[in-house]
């Protein structure tokens, strides 16, 4: 816990000290000289260049150009229907399930354009895990839920699976609560526990990126606080992208924030700047509550 607060302190310092203006440009951001610890992590994991997505003739998102940096939380905020979720779901190609979806531009994960015809979707989705708005555990036992991904990867040995399940549930901050009844149905858990189980299930495939689509919107404040704590713990290891309606939440958990409106990226910057000193009028109107 103290480690974590220290981390947060460092982040805050980092934001205060950095006087280099972050731009939304494609080129990797120059790391401020006085924060060497961050430097190792500075090349983008996810890179979007003029990415557009259409549902038939309807535009989902257009001309999104942004880099998402590793080992941090990036929040996507904006009014309903602005394409936040669409963009998030594009990153692991969840939108493939919707008929008549068309994309343009580039969206790279680890340097690979994922809308290339020759994309291994199984590997992509195992590297880019996802947590959904509504907790959606399988109607199976807690153990089988978490072991689902590893089993698909071909892991059969009981002890290995047990190890992964324990690690993932610890990662999801659920282990202490469920370690004695792993064979209980996942549907018997509370909503907040189910959502943490879904996070653990996503962690079990050992992803690098974790996409979270309004993960707390179906939860009460206590469960929300737990999930936010968890994000704080996970951000050292995982690249987290979270879509949220809740601006306080974005301010609490994220290092960088992107403001989307009507399918376009309006502004992308450090969260503290988005909230305290936005460059665009629309952003200011939104974060101050005058609009949206």
């Amino acid at each position: 816990m103290s480690q974590e607060s220290q981390d947060m302190q460092t982040t805050a310092d980092h934001i205060k000290k950095s006087d280099v203006r972050t731009t939304v440009a494609v080129t990797p951001r120059k790391a401020p000289a006085d924060t060497p610890a961050d430097e190792a992590c500075e090349c983008a994991v996810i890179r979007s260049e003029n990415f557009c997505l259409y549902y038939g003739s309807k535009t989902g998102v257009k001309n999104i150009t942004m880099d998402i940096y590793p080992c941090s939380v990036t929040a996507i905020i904006g009014p309903s229907g602005c394409g936040k979720s669409t963009f998030l779901r594009s990153i692991n190609r969840m939108n493939d399930l919707i008929p008549h979806v068309r994309t343009e531009g580039r969206l790279e994960v680890d340097g690979h354009h994922i809308y290339d015809k020759r994309t291994n979707l199984v590997n992509l989705r195992q590297q880019v895990g996802m947590v959904f708005q509504k907790p959606n555990p399988f109607p199976k036992s807690i153990f089988d839920n978490v072991a689902y991904g590893p089993r698909l990867q071909g892991i059969r040995r009981k002890d290995e699976l047990q190890h992964i399940v324990e690690q993932s549930l610890r990662g999801g901050a659920l282990w202490e609560e469920v370690k004695d009844d792993l064979n209980k149905s996942a549907l018997a858990l509370s909503g907040g526990q189910q959502q943490r189980l879904c996070i653990a299930r996503a962690l079990a495939t050992r992803p690098r990126v974790l996409l979270m689509d309004e993960p707390c919107s179906a939860l009460d404040p206590i469960a929300t606080a737990k999930i936010e704590d968890l994000m704080g713990q996970l951000q050292g290891t995982y690249t987290i992208v979270i879509v949220t309606h809740n601006m306080q939440q974005a301010a609490r958990v994220s290092e960088r924030a992107a403001f989307f409106c009507l399918g376009e990226l309006i502004e992308y910057d450090y969260t503290s700047r988005i909230f305290s000193n936005p460059k665009k009028k629309e952003t200011e109107d939104y974060v101050t509550g005058r609009f949206g």
Partner: protein, 324 residues
């Protein structure tokens, strides 16, 4: 136009001058109307329940004279059915087995086909194509069974004699193939409903763990929909076991249990076909007619049991999808 303008420009609160309390006459009228309507609706609903109860009572009563005069053990355990012999024998074992035999054989064909078709409709076809094809599949259920029977006797039976070298084309295989086709629309429709009811959330969860479509269907969708699929199978079985015309025409009506048991090319006879075929020849009040009613009781017990089982699984399926 004028009216709406008028009503919009009316002084607010004008309606408040209408009395809020009912007069005794209005009160009585409302009370009587409500209760009359309730009584009429109750009577209509209850009449169908009453019909079921009366049918049950009628069949049991009519079989009573036979069951009290004839040994029940002999009725259930003997396999020879000779109602018109000088000393008639009513052993229904072969007939009961025949009914179950064709029903299960029909399920062997219809269940894998039905579930695969349901998966295809729900998870692989586009929504548009599904909405086109599913009603077509359901039309299969609207074809009169005598038409299926014609097909069995005039097309399938000669074909089997010619190409499979069987001595008779009207046999257990013929009957169960046709029953399978007749049970398919029920199985596909109910199974597809329950598979579709498993929402997009679970499928997305599975894909996001890196599952392929086949893995998603086999490991998540079908297990989650298993209650509905079992209900579909049981409903299909009910359809097969209660079917009369087709088995009468296609099964060959020989009172025997196939020897060896897997030889589907032998003729058999079912309970429904026996009742339908012999009712006209059994004189009123005779032991023969009582025996046919006793067969009817057995049939009712079977279908009621299956109905309860399917209701149980359907309600479980509803609960499961309501929760998820």
């Amino acid at each position: 136009m004028n009216d709406t303008e008028l009503s919009l420009t009316r002084e607010p609160g004008a309606d408040a001058r209408r009395p809020l309390a009912l007069t005794p006459g209005e009160d009585l009228r409302g009370y009587l109307l409500a209760h009359l309507g309730r009584a009429v609706l109750f009577g209509m609903t209850f009449s169908s329940v009453l019909a079921v109860l009366l049918i049950l009572l009628f069949v049991i009563l009519r079989s009573f004279s036979f069951l009290s005069g004839y040994s029940i053990v002999e009725f259930l355990a003997r396999r020879d059915w000779r109602p018109t012999a000088d000393s008639p024998v009513f052993g229904s074992l072969a007939i009961i087995v025949g009914s179950l035999y064709v029903s299960f054989a029909a399920l062997v064909f219809a269940v894998p086909l039905g579930i695969l078709a349901a998966v295809f409709l729900s998870d692989i076809l586009s929504w548009k194509a599904r909405n086109l094809i599913k009603p077509m599949v359901e039309i299969l259920a609207a074809i009169p069974s005598v038409a299926y029977g014609f097909f069995a006797v005039l097309v399938l039976a000669p074909w089997m004699q010619k190409h499979l070298g069987l001595t008779t084309g009207t046999n257990a295989l013929n009957a169960s193939l046709i029953l399978a086709i007749m049970a398919l629309p029920t199985i596909i429709s109910v199974a597809e409903d329950s598979i579709s009811a498993i929402g997009r959330e679970l499928r997305e969860a599975s894909y996001s763990c890196g599952a392929t479509r086949m893995e998603t269907v086999i490991k998540v969708v079908i297990p989650a929909a298993h209650s509905g699929i079992i209900a579909a199978v049981v409903l299909g079985m009910m359809r097969a076991i209660g079917e009369t015309m087709v088995v009468w025409m296609a099964s060959g009506n020989a009172t025997q249990i196939p020897q060896p048991w897997w030889d589907v090319s032998q003729s058999i006879r079912t309970m429904t076909a026996t009742i339908a075929g012999e009712m006209g020849e059994a004189p009123e009040g005779s032991e023969h007619r009582g025996a046919l009613f006793a067969l009817g009781v057995l049939l009712l017990i079977l279908t009621f049991g299956l109905n309860i089982v399917s209701e149980y699984f359907l309600s479980r399926a509803k609960k499961a999808t309501g929760k998820a």
